[in-house]
Amino acid sequence: MINLRAAILTLFACAALHAQCVPGGLAVVVPKTSPTDGLSMAQLRKLVMGDVHTWPDKSKVTLVSTDTEGAVFKCMITAVVRMTTPEYRKYLLTAEFRGDEPLRMKTVDSASTAVRTVAGSAGAFSVVEASSLPSLGGSVKVLAINGKQPGEPGYPL
């Protein structure tokens, strides 16, 4: 009985940990052909807010993402634009209603599809779990944020 309780508690603890946005847990990836190697947090914020629509190579900025209800998307929105997902959706809607050009987004079924889509689409970027980077096989470029790579001290995502 005690073992069962311990197991349940462990499961709950694991679930709670999983739901948290761990510092350093996110990575921004772009196609390997992108001339961009790094961004500041302010620039990343502008990208996600739809304030910037083109990269230096004139390709159109497109955010490739899995379900906006997913944990990675929520953590990304919290870390980058300090909003909740509903607030972010309302922000995009407001921008569109004002007649501004909204951020181009593509939704895909899974994180691996997101990465593969980014790899093959000029101007695309995606925010993925840093822990998944080893499995990407170098198909995409990982951007430095504020001059730091995932895993380095001071990395802001």
């Binding site: 790094g38 230096p56 309302k90 809607l93 050009e101 599809t113």
Partner: protein
């Protein structure tokens, strides 16, 4: 079901399907031939074939798995990409810091076709219509609000069409009764025509004190935006006077409070400012001002009708003068404080009431409208402050009628609750020959917005309004607004 039995059933079904396909194929090739029985040996052959394919798939899966698991271990070395020291690297920013050594193109092999992705519809409430064949898709979104008002100035302040709310606004006077009220049924239609061309429009159906629904195309705007430094729009749009007028349009769900500030009331609700313009609008960011976020806007178009009592004061088709209204606006959105926006505008028009369709014996007027604002908006805080000076100068006499107006609004979000407070002041010169709204209006409004759903909100607002020549009034209004 046991795994073995499950596999057997799957195999049996597969065989049936394969056999059926073969039969169909055969039938297609020999339509006149009689149906042939499949022999046991054929079925056995098919099963063997399937088993071989399954084995081959398993082998390939194992190879793929081995490749991906043993590929890269994440170490600083593997992640060592030349970093541009977080310098600006985006196109819309100085490109000087872009790494000149562009990496070699990545191998494109094994990429999943991008048709596994689809263009986002940002949320489940978007409705798209497309004829296909590459034609632009039409996106439709709706807004509606429903109200219940109690008190003398509850509704006139929000829908100030009754005489006791806005003086001589031209609508039939009605006694103020408690009432359920339909708000605006707003259809927002937009379409991305090409990478640089887009169209937005708002079709609004709303009732008035006559209880009849009227229809208005409140906005129609074709925009060409080649880059962030320049965009050009043609159509009917909200004039860039101040902040509120272009930040909030007809969907009341967007606004924190109920109703617009009195100074920004729509023309057909007794408002004095030209909140709509029919003409051209140009806008963009000023290059090399990223830190400050300096933006510019220039507009030219038909000003309002020279007769303020015209049935439709926005000149959609016929203009009663050659003089065109112009408006110039600037604002900054500095990087150092996210959410801050400071701006101002200058509007100028020449109004000639003697040339109106229903002429008025009023000399020509030069109208100037100056505005300034400072707003701070975050996901939690909302702080809006605006001031406008409307000046009508009568030519010949040099007489000037000035009408200052301002409001402040503060709100703070606590989860789904957002209490807010607004205080407004409008002093429309009583001797002004063309202003509809006359007199002084000032007072507080306090309310609570409850976002009980992501796309629906309930607002409860209390208004206290002092009006020159009348007793101060109180009102309470409940508002249900949503998007669909």
């Amino acid at each position: 079901m046991a795994p073995n039995r499950f596999h057997l059933v799957v195999k049996a079904l597969t065989v049936c399907v394969a056999a059926s396909l073969i039969c169909n194929s055969a039938a297609a090739q020999q339509p006149a031939a009689p149906t042939q029985q499949i022999s046991q040996s054929t079925v056995d052959e098919l099963v063997r074939l399937l088993a071989a394919h399954e084995a081959r798939i398993r082998e390939l899966e194992q190879r793929l798995s081995a490749q991906s698991s043993g590929a890269v271990s994440i170490t600083p070395a593997t992640l060592a990409v030349p970093v541009a020291a977080a310098a600006p690297v985006m196109a819309d920013m100085p490109a000087s810091s872009v790494n000149a050594a562009t990496p070699a193109p990545a191998p494109i092999a094994a990429l999943v076709p991008t048709d596994q992705a689809h263009e986002t519809i940002d949320d489940p409430h978007d409705h798209m219509m497309s004829l296909g064949g590459g034609a632009p898709a039409l996106k439709i979104r709706g807004f509606f609000d429903f109200n219940y008002g109690v008190g003398s100035i509850a509704n006139p302040l929000i829908f100030p069409e009754a005489n006791n709310g806005c003086g001589t606004c031209g609508n039939p006077a009605t006694p103020s009764h408690n009432a359920f009220q339909a708000g605006e049924f707003d259809l927002f239609l937009s379409s991305k025509i090409s990478d640089q061309l887009s169209f937005v429009s708002e079709i609004v159906l709303g009732p008035s004190t006559t209880n009849e629904f009227g229809i208005d195309i409140e906005r129609y705007q074709l925009t060409y935006r080649p880059n962030k430094y320049f965009s050009a729009s043609a159509g009917r749009f909200h004039t860039s006077i101040g902040y509120y007028n272009t930040a909030y349009h007809h969907g009341t769900w967007f606004g924190t409070a109920e109703g617009r500030p009195i100074m920004y009331l729509f023309e057909d609700s007794g408002g004095t400012l030209p909140v709509h313009m029919v003409g051209l609008s140009f806008a963009g960011e000023v290059p090399h001002t990223e830190y400050l976020g300096l933006h510019w806007i220039a507009e030219i178009g038909n000003g309002l009708s020279s007769n303020p009592n015209a049935a439709e004061s926005v000149q959609n088709f016929y203009s009663d003068r050659n003089y065109k209204a112009t408006n110039l606006a600037f604002y900054i959105k500095p990087q150092f404080l996210e959410g801050l926006q400071i701006g101002g505008s200058w509007y100028h028009d020449g109004i000639n009431p003697t040339q109106a369709q229903n002429p008025l014996p009023v000399p020509e007027i030069r109208q100037n409208i100056e505005s300034a604002y400072i707003v701070y908006l975050t996901s939690k805080w909302e702080f809006l402050n605006e001031g406008v000076m409307l000046s009508n100068h009568v030519t010949g006499t040099g007489e000037a009628f000035r009408s200052p107006m301002a409001y402040t609004q503060v709100a703070r979000k606590f989860g789904i609750y957002k209490p807010y407070f607004r205080y407004q002041y409008v002093h429309d010169n009583v001797n002004d020959p063309i202003n509809l709204l006359k007199g002084i209006y000032y007072g507080p409004s306090v309310g609570l917005r409850l976002d009980f759903s992501e796309y629906a909100a309930f607002k409860l607002q209390y208004n206290h309004l002092f009006q020159s020549g009348q007793l101060a009034g109180n009102g309470l209004d409940g508002n249900l607004s949503f998007t669909f």
